[in-house]
């Protein structure tokens, strides 16, 4: 597949400290690459380097296969558009703000009006065209900022946490609209975010950036289901991580010793090998009381005792002891319906396909 932009040996250093070190990264035509990482991991620096807004200390950027030089920087920059966390609208009307990029490119007035009208409409802010941009709400302002970037029909759209300053309902609305529009336009996009949900919902591929290094870049589902290291696993939301010994292995099914419990995992491993088991909390289901009868083979049913119940926004995190510490995510209603309380006896269920094994060698 054709790549729109490629990074080669990119390093950005502030004095002795390296803040970004990306040996190679390519963004494919038509994809949305979501790069996620914690604060200070180098996400915005990465985006600025791609967008030619910051010169790297070392390395090169290729756009459509051609090396970008200082001489053609502006020409290449005009084939891209950036949107930041803060909408950064100019003190002008919404229409004039959306028209900015076209005016920078010296497009004639009639075409500007036609294109701006289309994009105001697509972001459902056509009625705000004559309003002063500084009087908009946060959600409206970010819609204007996105329309302002997309109106120039960029070959590469760069989004730097564009939803993070918005409240939850506004964020979800805008994320849905943007996802739909990008899907229709097939605009090649790089989104950086610290929000796993955003990356998962919007990303075709997901990269995990930590301490300036891209630890994993893969299909979105693969990054969340099969993180390549404990560091990535923790960042993508895996909460149960423990060392286990492989007892038996037959084909794709392995039996592990996890804190004295036999756990089935649908992943090959060598008997006697030590592996690290990763399990997401939303893959664990809790039932009241002790396990009843022998389970069907692809399921794990472990007797457990509730250790802690921690409210986590719309959900509740329940930490249980089943020979090892296991974290389950349930709803507030389930806590009531299942009569969960500290010390309660429960059965923890998870499919053999749910865990992911990190193999030490």
């Amino acid at each position: 597949m054709r790549t729109v932009v490629e990074l080669e040996g990119i390093r950005v250093a502030h004095g002795e400290r390296t803040v970004l070190d990306v040996p190679v990264l390519g963004v494919r035509q038509g994809e949305l690459l979501a790069v996620m990482g914690p604060n200070g991991s180098g996400k915005s620096t990465l985006l600025r380097v791609i967008g030619l807004l910051q010169a790297p200390t070392a390395g090169a950027v290729r756009f459509r296969g051609a090396l970008v030089t200082a001489h053609d920087g502006l020409v290449v920059r005009r084939r891209m558009a950036s949107v930041f966390q803060d909408p950064l609208l100019a003190a002008a009307t919404v229409f004039d703000n959306v028209a900015l990029g076209l005016r920078f490119r010296r497009i004639d007035g009639r075409r500007i009006r036609a294109r701006v009208d289309v994009w105001l409409d697509r972001f459902s802010i056509a009625h705000l065209g004559l309003r002063q941009a500084r009087t908009l709400s946060g959600g409206e302002a970010q819609r204007a900022a996105l329309a302002r970037a997309l109106v120039v029909e960029p070959e590469l759209l760069l989004l730097d946490e564009p939803f993070s300053a918005l409240d939850q309902p506004t964020r979800e609305d805008l994320m849905n609209d943007l996802g739909r529009i990008l899907g229709e336009e097939r605009t090649t996009t790089v989104l950086v975010t610290h929000d796993r949900a955003e990356a998962m919902v919007l990303g075709d591929r997901v990269g995990v950036l930590m301490n300036g290094r891209l630890l994993q870049v893969d299909e979105a589902a693969q990054v969340f289901r099969g993180p390549i290291s404990e560091e990535v696993a923790r960042f993508v939301g895996v909460e149960t991580i423990l060392d286990c010994r492989v007892l038996e292995s037959a084909g794709d099914l392995s039996i592990l010793d996890a804190g004295g419990q036999r756990v089935q995992v649908a992943q090959p491993a060598d008997p006697g090998e030590w592996v690290r088991l990763c399990l997401r909390p939303e893959d664990v289901t809790l039932f009241p009381g002790a396990p009843k009868g022998a389970g069907a083979s692809p399921f794990n049913r472990l007797p457990a005792r509730v250790e802690r119940i921690v409210r986590a926004g719309a959900h509740v995190r329940v930490v249980v002891d089943c020979g090892f510490q296991l974290v389950a995510m349930v709803t507030h209603r389930e806590v009531e319906d299942l009569g969960l309380h500290e010390g309660a006896l429960v059965t923890a269920h998870f499919k053999a396909t749910a865990p992911h094994l990190l193999r030490h060698g």
């Binding site: 600025r48 967008g51 807004l53 502006l74 920059r77 005009r78 891209m80 558009a81 950036s82 949107v83 930041f84 803060d86 950064l88 100019a90 003190a91 900015l100 990029g101 920078f104 490119r105 302002r148 970037a149 120039v152 760069l158």
Partner: protein, 231 residues
């Protein structure tokens, strides 16, 4: 109180009767201070923009010099310009001492740091990511600077007001480099000093009132533009 009211009445009379000398002095004041302000804008806006955006060794020192310059005592400027323009001074060959041109030069030196310093502050108050955002939308460097100046236009109008206010009201430099020559370099401030020293308080108050009126009208016009832009 009698003196003040008589002075005000005299001001009204001078204005209404169209006293030629008063109108000439007022017109010269506007010309000299307007030209000096205009020149200071031409120099101060690019310099302030450069200091706000560029990073170079000695920048902090340059900013300190500008900030110090914002409070330059006019008499010091007057002395400096007189020495430079004196017949055997550095620019003595120009023979412009005791001409309106010398007054423009002195007032320019007073106003330029004010405009530079306020431009610097105005541009720095625009959030730094705004620059990146403009570049990220495809602006060239000059388009980006244009957008920054546009964003900072309200505080920059304050720079114009401060620059003009600083020079139309100064007296020391104009007196020293202009000489207060009747029909040549007499402006409202120097004329006021002269009339006061002669004990002609009514005329001095009248001239001061006209000076205040001019300052008010110019600032009122700029404020109107500023507030209209904000609305």
């Amino acid at each position: 109180m009698g003196l003040v009211s008589e002075g005000l009445l005299e001001a009204v009379r001078l204005l209404l009767t169209g006293d030629a000398e008063v109108w000439r002095i007022a017109w010269l004041s506007l010309q000299v201070s307007g030209s000096a302000t205009l020149l200071s804008l031409c120099a101060g806006i690019p310099l302030g923009t450069l200091l706000a955006l560029a990073r170079f060794p000695g920048r902090a020192l340059a900013v300190s010099v500008v900030n110090t310059g914002m409070g330059l005592p006019p008499v010091v400027v007057g002395l400096f310009v007189t020495v430079v323009l004196w017949r055997n001074g550095l620019l003595g060959a120009l023979e412009i001492l005791y001409t309106p041109l010398a007054m423009v030069l002195a007032q320019f030196i007073i106003a330029a740091p004010i405009v530079t310093g306020l431009t610097l502050a105005a541009i720095q108050q625009v959030p730094e990511p705004f620059r990146l955002q403009m570049l990220g939308l495809g602006a060239s460097r000059s388009q980006m600077i244009g957008m920054l100046l546009r964003e900072a236009r309200l505080p920059m109008l304050a720079a114009v007001m401060a620059g003009f206010g600083g020079v139309i009201s100064e007296v020391g430099a104009s007196l020293m480099v202009g000489g207060n020559i009747k029909g040549g370099t007499r402006v409202l401030t120097t004329a006021t000093v002269l009339e006061t020293s002669k004990g002609n308080f009514e005329v001095a108050i009248a001239l001061s009132t006209i000076l205040l009126l001019i300052t008010f009208l110019v600032n009122w016009a700029l404020t109107w533009i500023q507030q209209r832009a904000r609305a």
